[in-house]
């Protein structure tokens, strides 16, 4: 039994510097992690533009529509097509109306994949227009190159 315990002693180095480093790393990643990225969607790769700047004040009452490459629309985790999007939008509008706001306060944020057909985006806008929405924002990635 003694021999065994000696082996353990030999194998144990000083763990302090390693733990220091590991805690530093954890602190670094914790600070940089961004949970507010819930807006993004894996199926959407935004086009980029040199002119856009991140907004200083976030948009009021955003309705975020993701348009995937195949033209499918994702709103609040549910998939829609241009034909069925009306139903999804009406749910969102009900929430906005319940908060005592008008449709002019709502902002439709369109996050469309860069390779999606422009017509699909136009269809999304058309459907939203039919619901009397009129403020649209085309979300793009900032290009610093």
């Amino acid at each position: 039994m003694r021999v065994e315990s000696k082996k353990v002693d030999l194998a144990e180095g000083d763990l302090t510097p390693m733990i220091d480093m590991v805690f530093q790393l954890i602190a670094f990643f914790m600070v940089l992690i961004n949970f507010a990225q819930t807006e993004s969607n894996d199926r959407v790769k935004l086009p980029s533009s040199q002119l856009v700047k991140p907004p200083e004040v976030p948009l009021e009452f955003p309705i975020i529509l993701h348009v995937a490459k195949d033209g499918e629309i994702i709103l609040g985790g549910d998939d829609y097509t241009a034909e069925t999007l009306r139903v999804g939008l009406q749910k969102e509008l009900a929430v906005i109306k319940a908060q005592g706001k008008t449709l002019e306060d709502a902002n439709v944020v369109i996050r469309a994949h860069k390779d999606t057909a422009a017509g699909d985006v136009q269809e999304v806008i058309r459907v939203a227009q039919e619901q009397k929405l009129q403020n649209f924002a085309l979300r793009v990635k900032e290009d610093n190159s």
């Binding site: 733990i19 961004n34 002119l51 017509g119 649209f136």
Partner: protein
């Protein structure tokens, strides 16, 4: 055995194994979920449904018309601005926009010039964004010079 345990605890101090396990788990979690934040911004498009606008249209104040044409793969083949053919060069588009809106004093706000984008259905969206970038301004050093802020889309072409 009990005696040996006591001896070990006295020799080695605290048992670190479980803490290191947890700490490594945390580290792995944060490394895996780490994603460099890409900054995003918006191009705003204000498009009330046609006919609902109570303001009467001034016939001399017609919007510029940008037509984008695509091949069957969605690639941009040609552009024309108010019937001026521009090929596929977005710089050329910007130069033409600068020429066309030169002299119109109020650029910002509701009275600025307006552009209507009429695109083929299958054109890839990134070309639309590139054209919107070209018509809405350009970078002069670090400053952004604004050109057209009112952007709208024509009816989708099927």
């Amino acid at each position: 055995m009990k005696i040996r345990n006591r001896e070990e605890a006295q020799k080695g101090g605290l048992n670190m194994t479980s803490m290191i396990d947890i700490v490594f788990l945390l580290l792995v979690f944060f490394v895996m979920t780490f994603k460099i934040v890409e900054l995003e911004g918006d191009f705003s498009v204000r498009m009330p449904l046609a006919g609902s606008d109570s303001v009467t249209m001034d016939p001399t104040d017609l919007p510029l018309k940008l037509r984008l044409r695509a091949d069957e793969n969605g690639k941009l083949t040609s552009m024309s601005l108010n019937e001026i053919d521009l090929g596929t060069d977005f710089n050329q588009l910007r130069v033409n926009v600068v020429e066309l809106i030169e002299g119109t004093a109020p650029v910002e706000g509701e009275d600025g010039p307006e552009i209507e984008i009429d695109t083929d259905y299958n054109l890839r969206y990134e070309y639309v964004i590139s054209s919107i970038t070209a018509v809405s301004g350009f970078k002069d050093g670090n400053e952004v010079v604004k050109l057209i802020e009112k952007i709208k889309f024509a009816k989708p072409r099927r």
